[in-house]
Point group: C2
Chain length 140, copies 2
């Protein structure tokens, strides 16, 4: 099977609060939205934000809990962008989990939770190239 992820779908309680974080905070534009879901076209995959009850019904799985044992990362191109973006996300309904500091592997990173407790790492990692169209490649 191709090493490919098509969608990351996050359960959300309130689409307006979620959009404030993703549109106002990250500055991203939806590619589609209706009363229960918003899709953002990302770097070769979709980010979906879907009312949690609808997601649970689609998965046929109840008892979804939070915070989940996962994180998403958005890598930035300059070290000084990390703390600045963390603060902008916190100002748009996010909750700062960890301010920007240096991980053992180098670079700089911090974490912020979105309005539904989904964790985002904001990272500067000079070892991982980002192409002009946003493709990120592993490096050491």
């Amino acid at each position: 099977m191709q090493q490919q992820i098509s969608v990351i779908t996050l359960g959300v309680a309130d689409l307006a609060l979620s959009k404030r974080f993703y549109v106002g905070g990250f500055g991203w534009a939806p590619v589609f939205e209706n009363a229960e879901i918003v899709f953002y076209q990302m770097n070769g995959l979709m980010l979906g934000t879907w009312l949690t009850n609808a997601l649970a019904a689609d998965m046929q799985r109840c008892g979804l809990s939070r915070p989940g044992a996962f994180s998403l990362a958005h890598n930035v191109r300059a070290e000084q962008d990390v703390q600045q973006l963390l603060e902008r996300l916190a100002a748009h309904g996010g909750t700062l989990l960890r301010g920007a500091d240096k991980p053992p592997s180098g670079g700089l990173r911090g974490y912020v939770a979105d309005p539904d407790d989904h964790a985002w790492e904001i990272a500067f990692n000079p070892a991982w190239p980002i192409s002009a169209d946003g493709r990120v490649t592993f490096g050491l």
Copy 2:
């Protein structure tokens, strides 16, 4: 900010069980691994599987719970691949959540949880093109 996700990091309890699902089930090859993390190079982003305690320490966030309110999706190119892949993943330590059936939007999909309760949707969606190198684009 660029509409870009660099990494999806999933918390795992046992790397060997997790690898059985991702390597044996999906047939994916790690790009890097050590005693606490495995990275897979995906379509312009990384999938990371990291011991949950290490992820929680890095996020400075305790009390991670499961199942989380999110799902990941892997889209396949043919309708008959959906049920077949669900079964292969279930045979490699996954738990079937929903067998393949037709969603309201068309196509075919089912859900399987990985050994750490992270949900994967396996979908055939003829409206969403997949490029040769795995980039997925929104469509209606």
